[in-house]
């Protein structure tokens, strides 16, 4: 396992926000994470990178990545890990690049960080190769640009180039395509898939679009209001969702569940409980169509089929 997390809890300002997350990613695997905006996906990613903002704290029974025990990692270990085995790309590529530094300086920083042995020109050549790898034309000219001169897609490609510079074993992609328009989205996902296949790195792909996950991921876990509510192989989870929230998500996909085109899309009524709010029983209960008295009890993760790591936080 490249990444394995057991019972990860994250508190925001002392209040529990994310509750007992357990998951793992194997080498070369793509784990998809779906969930509504605000359910805490980014928080988990930041916790994995040790980049939680002030006032947000994480605790876990076990958390290790690339063979490093993250619970015991000091700031030096974290830095070694971030510039080495793990890398992350962010939701909004335009704000994730430093507006005052050229692409060259930012990219070289990553290259140098990964390979201290390279001299200036070799590092530059490596940077050009990386830009070429992520499909940027006129790489030489692009190195001289400032981020505000780039399009969103191009900026995200450069983020990817910086992230893979060190040849990470795990890439965390936090909604890499949300801020981009649809045609570019497909290209970026394609690129990530290619790089994954070439390098054999594992990918933790976060999205709130279940279509994207279906297309790219091997396994998926569905998050709702700070919890993992369902997990399993992509085909199984999307083909026969067990948790009512997953069902809702799948049904809300255009052109699915055998609906004729142009028919009304299914929606999930109501809105998410803020993740820091304490609730008795199932957190989805207020929005669930099938809720009954049993839902007043806390719902543990239930194994569905023993052999396939499928689980759901619903008694149905």
């Amino acid at each position: 396992m490249i990444l394995s997390v057991e019972d990860l809890c994250i508190d925001i300002a002392g209040k529990p926000a994310l509750r007992s997350l357990t998951f793992s990613v194997a080498a070369g695997e793509v784990l998809g994470v779906v969930g509504e905006s605000g359910c805490g996906k980014s928080m988990v990613n930041l916790a994995l990178m040790g980049l939680l903002p002030d006032g947000v704290t994480a605790s876990a029974l076990r958390m290790s990545a690339c063979g490093v025990d993250l619970l015991r990692a000091g700031s030096r270990d974290w830095r070694a890990l971030r510039g080495g085995g793990m890398a992350m790309i962010f939701q909004n590529p335009m704000s994730a690049l430093n507006p005052c530094l050229t692409v060259e300086r930012q990219l070289l920083e990553s290259v140098r960080r990964a390979r201290a042995d390279l001299d200036r020109s070799a590092a530059r050549a490596e940077a050009l190769r990386l830009l070429d790898r992520v499909g940027i034309a006129h790489a030489g000219a692009r190195l001289k640009s400032y981020p505000h001169e780039l399009s969103g897609g191009m900026a995200q490609r450069i983020m990817i180039a910086m992230a893979v510079a060190a040849g990470p074993q795990l890439l965390i992609a936090d909604e890499p395509t949300t801020a981009l328009d649809v045609t570019v989205q497909a290209q970026i996902l394609q690129l990530l898939e290619e790089i994954r296949r070439d390098t054999g790195m594992a990918l933790l792909l976060v999205s709130h679009d279940i279509g994207v996950i279906e297309q790219c991921a091997h396994r998926v876990q569905v998050m709702y209001s700070g919890q993992i509510v369902e997990s399993g192989a992509v085909d199984a989870v999307i083909g026969s969702p067990r948790h009512p929230y997953t069902r809702g998500l799948v049904a809300a996909q255009p052109g699915r569940s055998g609906m004729p085109p142009k028919s009304r899309l299914a929606t999930i009524e109501g809105s998410v409980i803020p993740i820091t709010e304490e609730v008795d029983g199932c957190r989805f209960r207020p929005r669930c169509v099938r809720a009954d008295h049993r839902c007043l009890q806390p719902q543990p993760m239930r194994q569905i089929e023993t052999h396939s790591q499928r689980g759901s936080r619903c008694h149905w």
């Binding site: 930041l46 070694a80 971030r82 510039g83 994730a96 430093n98 005052c100 990553s110 505000h148 910086m162």
Partner: protein
């Protein structure tokens, strides 16, 4: 880029209207002051009729205002601001002779303020809500509120009278006879000839005389630098690209200085430009008075006491031009330091 150029053209136009305003202010100054402008300009006592007639001609009071104004601007452009009532010397020469002393003091003060204030602000931001942060911010709000003229006296009280470490007034000990080469005492005392005569002791004396006034003048800008740097650093440190830099595994030192500091500097530069002007002029007026520093500030104050209107007129004009030039330069620097700003302003 073209739109950007248009934007800076507009700004240039704005700056030149302000310049126009400054000339108008200087022009109307003597015409608004109570009394006969001619008498104001030649001084009331001991004016003989010939001198009176000459000045009246020069002002062209019988001509329409526009013509008078053009004549005023015309002679100002040629560097002719008339003659001081007190010294009967050309005003421009008197002002320029005092300018280096003021600049020397102002620049030293600003350097002290930058060197202490900016790192303090960065430290306060990086260790926010720590004891260090509270300490720096408390000191800086005191520094910001301090009456400069009192602070100078308190420093004299402590360091000159109490500890007897520094001299109280002037630029250099009267023992030394330093020929004015550049007007900057620190430079002049390092001239080969001076070193031959006195060794480095003249330089030491000049430095000793500079310390207290420079510290006095530095206090307010130091506090402003610390506050501005802190808030701007805090803002930048919460930006996405700082998270990216951390995600790359860069050291905290590198994240703070390379990724955050440069970007946080932009508002600091703007504030610094404004401060430079206020420090040099405002600080000069009060500090030079306290420390008997022979600069422009003290000269202006003395001219007001003596009702030396030609000097006041020229000072406003020159200082106005100086301020506008500095502002223009700052704005140029501002767009040069952050490429994105130029682009964004254009868009």
């Amino acid at each position: 880029m073209d739109i950007f150029r248009k934007a800076s053209c507009r700004r240039l136009l704005e700056l030149s209207t302000t310049l126009l305003g400054v000339t108008l202010l200087a022009f109307f100054l003597i015409r608004l002051a109570p009394g006969d402008p001619v008498l104001l300009l030649i001084g009331e006592r001991g004016s003989d009729p010939a001198q009176y007639r000459e000045m009246a001609m020069r002002l062209g009071l019988e001509k329409p205002l526009v013509a008078q104004y053009l004549q005023f601007v015309g002679s100002a452009l040629q560097g002719d601001f008339g003659v001081s009532v007190v010294s009967h010397q050309g005003v421009i020469g008197e002002l320029l002779a005092r300018w280096p002393a003021t600049i020397e003091l102002g620049v030293s003060a600003l350097l002290i303020a930058c060197a202490v204030g900016i790192p303090a602000g960065v430290a306060a931001a990086v260790y926010r809500n720590s004891v260090l942060d509270y300490l720096i911010m408390t000191v800086s709000i005191f520094g910001y509120s301090i009456p400069v003229f009192w602070w100078g006296l308190v420093l004299i009280l402590c360091f000159s009278i109490g500890l007897d470490l520094t001299p109280v007034a002037g630029r250099i000990d009267i023992l030394y006879d330093v020929p004015p080469a550049t007007g900057f005492m620190l430079v002049d005392t390092l001239m080969p000839q001076v070193i031959e005569d006195y060794g480095l002791s003249a330089f030491g004396s000049a430095l000793g005389h500079l310390v207290l006034p420079a510290l006095t003048m530095a206090t307010v800008p130091l506090a402003v630098f610390a506050r501005t740097t802190r808030s701007s650093m805090l803002e930048v440190l919460s930006e996405d690209y700082i998270r990216t830099a951390r995600a790359k595994g860069l050291s905290e030192l590198r994240v703070v200085w390379r990724h955050a500091f440069r970007n946080a500097l932009i508002p600091v530069v703007t504030v610094g430009g404004v401060l430079f002007v206020t420090t040099v002029i405002t600080g000069a007026i009060l500090t030079e008075t306290i420390f008997a520093w022979p600069g422009v500030g003290r000269y202006i104050v003395n001219s007001v006491y003596a009702r030396d209107y030609p000097v006041i007129q020229a000072s406003i004009l020159l200082i106005g031009v100086f301020v506008i030039l500095v502002n223009g330069l700052i704005e140029y620097f501002y767009s040069a330091i952050n490429p994105a700003i130029g682009g964004r302003r254009a868009g």
